[in-house]
């Protein structure tokens, strides 16, 4: 049968089956099992109403259980078995094997880089775009254009950026915009400004923001706030602060590298094969896609800020930067956290970009691609499952946080 016809048939069967199931199961409940008439009418109606929710829920819960809940446990089980030994239980052998692979640690390192850079950059750009576009007449159109990459597939974006990063031999015209721009730099004042001073300022700014976050996180311990919190939040604060301090240290150390590095001016670069830095060229693709998402949500949050708070600040003589960082940003902090975690989830699952652009070569491996490699190239389901479990472990803090928030909200 032609697939299109099959698809149509599936829609009809799927939709018809669903609607039919709901209709007839309800009819069965009301007319046959517990009819709302006769001597027990009242009791029957109550009973039917007790069962009905489960009729409504059953298909969805069944699919959720089978397609998402069960696989979590099955993957956990598979990660403890060996396929080549007929699924025999092997304990933690798969994990041991994985931990001894250099490629795995490379993937972990890169994933951590992605986790830090992409959410931070997307949120920062999104916040910037939201704040700026809210103040101009053509803001809606500008937003729509910055938001557009959301509709583009990771694969499509990879092709787009492969063209940006394309390299030609030095004697030919460059067709990748990045190399064309790069060749304009020849080591003069402009090169110094753009390739040394600007990164320097950006890294310093990043370090400053992170230091500020660390300060906020540590505030309760410095005696500035008397609010008492649960031990879970205290631990999260300490972990966050330690990570932040470490990030400040790393970025300050990288300043030395920026100042003293010797850049190969005049040589077209194959950007995707430069170890370590190629990770950032891949991240640019995801940042490009996710900024629009951050912008849309943060823009809505910015508009939700009560006008009076801003006006009061103006009356008190605050300048625009003070208003933004001290009045607006604190008020939308919860939304920033949501945006940050949502992008973090996307980053943890990022697969298509790396798969299409480098396939993990040149030290760009990430966990999701590592897992795909193990599953479908090496055919090693044990190690593949083990790496999937690692992704799950990385996701679970966010999972717990989301559930915690959802329950709090429902009360």
């Amino acid at each position: 049968m032609h697939p299109a016809l099959q698809g149509l048939l599936t829609i009809v069967i799927g939709v018809g089956g669903c609607v039919g199931y709901f209709y007839f199961s309800n009819q069965f409940l009301d007319k046959v099992l517990y009819p709302a008439k006769g001597p027990n009418a009242g009791r029957n109606i109550n009973r039917a109403n007790q069962i009905r929710p489960w009729l409504f829920l059953f298909p969805a819960m069944f699919a959720l259980g089978l397609y998402l809940a069960y696989p979590v446990f099955e993957t956990l089980r598979l990660s403890l078995t060996d396929r080549s030994q007929d699924g025999a239980f092997v304990g933690l052998a798969n994990y041991n094997q994985m931990f001894s692979e250099a490629k795995f640690w490379e993937a972990i390192r890169n994933n951590m880089l992605w986790l830090i850079v992409v959410p931070a950059a997307s949120t920062a750009f999104g916040l910037l775009a939201a704040q700026l576009t809210d103040r101009i007449s053509w803001g809606a159109a500008a937003k729509s254009l910055i938001f557009m990459p959301m509709a583009i597939s990771f694969v499509g974006a990879s092709v787009i950026f492969k063209l940006v990063y394309d390299t030609r031999p030095v004697e030919q015209d460059q067709i990748g915009i990045l190399n064309a721009v790069w060749l304009q730099f020849e080591g003069g004042v402009g090169s110094f400004l753009f390739l040394k001073a600007l990164p320097l300022i950006m890294v310093l700014g990043f370090a400053g923001i992170v230091a500020y976050v660390a300060y906020i996180l540590l505030m309760p311990f410095l005696g500035k706030s008397s609010r008492s919190e649960g031990s879970f939040l205290t631990i999260m604060r300490i972990i966050g602060a330690v990570v932040a301090v470490w990030l400040v240290f790393v970025s300050l150390r990288s300043l030395i590298g920026i100042v003293f590095s010797d850049l190969p001016y005049g040589q077209p670069q194959t950007w995707l094969t430069v170890p370590f830095f190629n990770n950032f060229f891949l991240m640019v693709v995801l940042i490009w896609i996710q900024t629009g998402f951050a912008m849309v949500i943060l823009s809505a949050a910015l508009r939700g800020i009560p006008e009076e708070t801003v006006e009061a600040a103006i009356v008190d003589g605050a300048n625009p930067f003070q208003i933004f960082f001290r009045i607006k940003v604190p008020q939308i902090m919860p939304t920033i956290v949501v945006v940050w975690t949502t992008i973090t989830l996307t980053v943890l699952k990022v697969f298509d970009i790396v798969f299409a652009m480098t396939n993990g070569q040149w030290e760009t491996q990430v966990l999701a691609n590592y897992m795909f490699d193990k599953l479908f190239r090496a055919n090693d389901w044990g190690v593949g499952s083990a790496s999937a479990i690692i992704i799950m472990i990385l996701v679970s803090p966010i999972l717990i946080w989301n559930v915690y928030n959802a329950r709090k909200e429902m009360r």
């Binding site: 099959q6 698809g7 829609i11 709901f22 009301d30 910037l128 801003v310 999701a368």
Partner: protein, 386 residues
């Protein structure tokens, strides 16, 4: 701060300029691919796409007419013709900037001047419209003389790439099959989860039963479970129960993976519907099934549309699920994303094919995006801000 009377921000122009820069930066990569998809392979590899938008100056090598075209005029042999429109010329639209007759001085003469060849026995006069008059004391050679033209050509675009990708291409270069496969995957995978989720969302929003809070928490938890975890167990399951790799499997997988978001979005929306309507209907004797189909479903249209767009974009753009659950060894059910990745591997340098293929696959989501942006934004806000 703008809306306080009497204070107009002096930074207004700076804001406008920064937004413009940001928008251009964000558009630039996509525009590059778009422009490249309308250029020929030679054009793409000759110059950057950003130059394609403006007239380009290029130097071409052409030849005057040879011995057959020569006419004897007194003691001179004369050849006349048009360098622009004759065979190998850059075409009548091109504008000649300079010309030369020796490879060491390719731009030595201006239009209207008469060039002298190094042997002193031949001359070439060239007019602005490309017509030339070549004279020689001796009989010209069979192939005519080389002339170097520096000409400015207008931007030139072609739709041939799209013709190749959509219709005439063979094998990997033809995306028509993959396009229909993608469509076949996408439409059922968008519609079915909506129906399933809508009923469940109604139950979670408006029906009272023990364990409801727990189920909602479960949905929120499953919202973030990486689908990577589901790949092996479900593939084993599909192979075990005989579905194997194919459309049915990919539809089911997309349905399963889309359900948490669908239930979450729809429930959040339905909870916000006015309680009075539903209670009135109940008092009037409507059953839950009637309330759902007659009242809730029509009122929830915005939320349904939001999710439909999400799911459509997600299934259309998906690579991983299709690779695992759909595409078998024969590759006859390949989807566009997969075919593009394969093209990246085999035709990495053929940008005219790559750019066009990528744009064919991007075009449909872009249309949907711009047409239904309102619902997309609403869905994003409902799904994340809460």
């Amino acid at each position: 701060m703008d809306n306080i009377a009497g204070s107009k921000s002096s930074l207004s122009w700076a804001v406008n300029v920064s937004v413009l820069a940001l928008v251009l930066l964000w558009l630039f990569p996509t525009v590059g691919l778009f422009v490249s998809s309308f250029r020929t392979a030679d054009q793409i590899s000759a110059s950057g796409w950003w130059k394609a938008l403006f007239p380009t100056e290029q130097t071409v090598q052409v030849r005057t007419g040879g011995r057959e075209a020569a006419v004897q005029d007194g003691d001179l042999f004369v050849v006349t013709g048009n360098l622009l429109t004759d065979e190998g010329g850059p075409g009548a639209d091109a504008e000649i900037v300079a010309f030369g007759v020796s490879s060491r001085a390719i731009g030595a003469y201006q239009v209207g001047e008469t060039a002298e060849f190094s042997d002193g026995e031949e001359t070439l006069a060239l007019a602005e419209d490309g017509s030339y008059r070549y004279t020689s004391v001796e009989e010209p050679g069979r192939r005519g003389q080389r002339v170097f033209l520096t000409a400015v050509t207008a931007p030139e675009f072609t739709t041939d790439n799209y013709r190749t990708i959509l219709f005439s291409g063979t094998g990997q270069d033809n995306m028509a099959n993959a396009f229909f496969n993608t469509l076949t995957v996408t439409i059922p995978a968008t519609i079915i989860p909506i129906v399933v989720a809508a009923f469940a969302a109604y139950a979670l929003a408006w029906m009272d039963f023990p364990g409801r809070a727990l189920l909602i928490a479960l949905v929120v938890a499953l919202l973030v479970v990486p689908l990577q975890l589901a790949l092996i167990p479900l593939l084993r399951l599909h192979l075990g129960i005989g579905i194997g790799k194919g459309y049915l499997g990919v539809w089911l997988a997309h349905t399963g993976f889309g359900l948490p978001l669908a239930i979450y979005l729809l429930r959040n929306y339905m909870v916000g519907l006015p309680r009075d309507i539903i209670e009135n209907a109940k008092v009037d004797g409507a059953t839950d099934f009637q309330i759902f189909t007659k009242i809730i479903l029509p009122l929830s249209f915005p939320a349904l549309a939001s999710f439909a767009i999400f799911q459509f974009l997600w299934t259309w753009n998906d690579l991983l699920v299709a690779k695992v659950f759909l595409i078998d060894a024969t590759g006859s059910t390949t989807v566009m994303t997969n075919q593009i990745v394969e093209l990246l591997g085999t035709r990495g340098g053929n940008w005219e094919i790559l750019a066009t293929a990528a744009f064919v696959s991007i075009a449909v989501p872009l249309v949907v995006f711009f047409a239904m942006q309102r619902y997309l934004v609403r869905g994003l806000l409902a799904g994340s801000v809460k």
